[in-house]
């Protein structure tokens, strides 16, 4: 390919990205306008005269919801890794009876529609007092993350050299010690990937959030945006500012951990 051709390809690529990401640009543009500017026709295409009032409103009305989602997402990451890492290791390493069937089950459960879980868990959560609670949200969101994390960690863990583990075992380490002191450190990248995606899934969850919270005590940010939008007298600059703030984890992931992103999409095989 000649140099000109490559440059043309790059230019075409840039145009494609600009067109495709136009909605994201629009979100940022609107978030920086004043409420009056949003009612102008034609609209203000570029934020030459930005105001931060949208962000002020976003933080004032949605700040606590962002915090709620942060707690839920971090809790989900912790719970997910605690449950998934040992299981993934066992499914990758031990020749236990039924492990292949278990892997199949993990693949299949990802296909259970979330609405079914919401529907059938609601009465249970209601009885156990798990509605409007962090614990309830963390458990519910973990249904999105545990199968995914098990599959992706298992892929990585089956690549850990068996000699490493055996060496630790010969030195007298028990299975769990070998796992903790040898396997986990080696799989650091995989754990980061699984953790990042678990965070993102829990952060983005809307179905469980809207099903299992009433807004009386805790309200995740997705539900916050939903109710914000549903409000008739909505300030769209405030909504878009909230949307921008809610996009920070995704943008962070894309900018800092891009190589893990593709691994996350393809490695788990499935994203619900």
């Amino acid at each position: 390919m000649s140099t000109t051709q490559r440059v043309i390809n790059t230019l075409v690529g840039i145009v494609l990205v600009l067109v495709f990401l136009a909605p994201v640009y629009w979100m940022i543009n609107v978030s920086l306008q004043s409420s009056e500017a949003l009612l102008r026709t034609p609209p203000v295409w570029f934020p030459f005269d930005p105001t931060w009032s949208g962000y002020a409103e976003a933080l004032r009305t949605q700040g606590s919801h962002l915090l709620t989602s942060l707690v839920i997402a971090l809790g989900t990451v912790l719970f997910t890794l605690l449950v998934s890492a040992p299981a993934a290791y066992a499914l990758a390493r031990f020749r236990l009876r039924g492990t292949l069937a278990l892997v199949l089950v993990v693949l299949l459960v990802q296909m259970v529609p979330g609405i079914v879980m919401a529907n059938s868990l609601y009465p249970v959560f209601s009885q156990l007092g798990l509605l409007d609670s962090y614990a309830g949200m963390i458990l519910a969101d973990s249904t999105l993350t545990v199968p995914f994390a098990v599959l992706i960690l298992r892929t990585f863990m089956s690549g850990v050299p068996g000699e490493l583990i055996e060496a630790a075992r010969v030195d007298g380490c028990g299975q769990w010690r070998a796992f903790g002191s040898v396997v986990l450190p080696v799989c650091r990248n995989a754990l980061i990937t699984a953790g990042l995606f678990s965070f993102l899934f829990a952060w983005a969850d809307f179905l469980f959030a809207v099903s299992f919270t009433t807004g009386n005590t805790i309200q995740p940010i997705t539900v916050g945006i939903y109710r914000f939008v549903g409000n008739q007298t909505t300030n769209w600059n405030g909504v878009m500012a909230t949307a921008v703030l809610a996009s920070i984890p995704a943008a962070f992931l894309l900018l800092t951990a891009q190589r893990y992103v593709a691994a996350g999409i393809t490695g788990g095989g499935v994203k619900e």
């Binding site: 040992p86 079914v116 009465p123 993102l200 952060w203 878009m240 949307a243």
Partner: protein, 320 residues
């Protein structure tokens, strides 16, 4: 996939010495690794699916939650559903939404994947940026599109009016004619990156020498695409479409935030209807029944999916 046997060369004797003394105990310890996950799967997948099945045969009202009591009513819920005029609408909308989302998602994703297969400066970075819509919370994307679609002040109508493509603002979300289409367009945007990533990784596996050989034989770009890319990509295409289908069936967030299934059920799918029945009308029995229909559909395609990944695994193994 990842079912290859673990490499045990040289390590097996060591294991035998250890397990010779305490084989049973060893196995027990090994099971403790899987136990938490198994318990979690039982409580949060098996139980809900079974419970959903029994709920669909019960009558639930608001009172069921306060006074208890949800009597067994046999197939009543299902009969009521099927005779409900919304049922036909929801089924049709689900099919339209799924097919209408999948086809453009796949076509655009494949086009982009083929384009980004070329080597040029920034290729990787630009492709990475295209993943953003997939990473954003769906509620965020939904909210953005909702404002873009706004009849009076939305960018879409302003743009189309400015270009004189339309003479009057289009009520994208408030008209029964456009609501489903609007939701589909937003959902296509969300789904393209997933198709792009999987198809791109599939393309990477196609040996470049094949293209060179075909080019030497005088095959043009379209012929190369048609006779090399497509056939070799077939297993990946099957996977992407199957997963896309299962994933699109349960789309909830985008529709909820854009239209809430309305106006007048114009964009109601089985998923949003199930939610409305349970969480708005508190008829969890009927909501569960719709959910079970969704499970059956998802399961059928899940089996197709499992079969196709088994085939890819085999063909990969066959090729060495």
């Amino acid at each position: 996939m990842t079912t290859k046997p673990e490499p045990v060369n040289g390590t097996a004797p060591v294991r035998r010495v250890r397990s010779g003394t305490s084989g049973g105990r060893q196995r027990l310890v090994q099971w403790t690794f899987v136990l938490p996950m198994v318990v979690f799967l039982l409580l949060f997948f098996c139980y809900p699916v079974l419970r959903n099945l029994t709920m669909s045969f019960q009558e639930w009202t608001v009172a069921s939650f306060y006074e208890g009591g949800s009597p067994f009513v046999g197939l009543d819920n299902y009969v009521e559903l099927v005779t409900d005029p919304i049922f036909g609408t929801a089924v049709l909308n689900t099919v339209l939404f799924t097919v209408g989302s999948l086809a453009p998602q796949f076509a655009i994703g494949l086009g982009l994947a083929v384009f980004f297969q070329r080597r040029f400066p920034l290729s990787g970075a630009l492709r990475g940026l295209l993943l953003l819509p997939w990473l954003l919370p769906l509620v965020v994307s939904g909210a953005v599109f909702r404002w873009i679609y706004d009849e009076g002040f939305g960018a879409l109508n302003q743009l189309l009016l400015g270009l004189h493509l339309i003479s009057d603002p289009v009520p994208w979300l408030s008209s029964t004619r456009y609501a489903l289409l609007s939701a589909i367009i937003a959902n296509v945007w969300v789904g393209v990156p997933f198709n792009l990533v999987i198809l791109h990784s599939g393309l990477q596996a196609v040996p470049g020498s094949l293209y060179e050989a075909a080019a030497l034989d005088g095959a043009g770009p379209w012929q190369r695409f048609r006779h090399i890319t497509l056939p070799l990509l077939r297993p990946v295409i099957a996977i992407v479409l199957m997963l896309g289908l299962i994933y699109t069936l349960k789309v909830f967030d985008v529709i909820m935030i854009l239209t809430g299934g309305g106006p007048a059920n114009a964009s109601e799918t089985l998923t949003t209807w199930s939610f409305a029945l349970s969480f708005e009308e508190f008829d969890f029995g009927q909501g569960a029944a719709v959910g079970n229909i969704l499970i059956v559909i998802a399961l059928v395609f899940a089996l197709f999916y499992l079969r196709s990944i088994r085939d890819t695994f085999r063909s990969r193994g066959g090729r060495g």
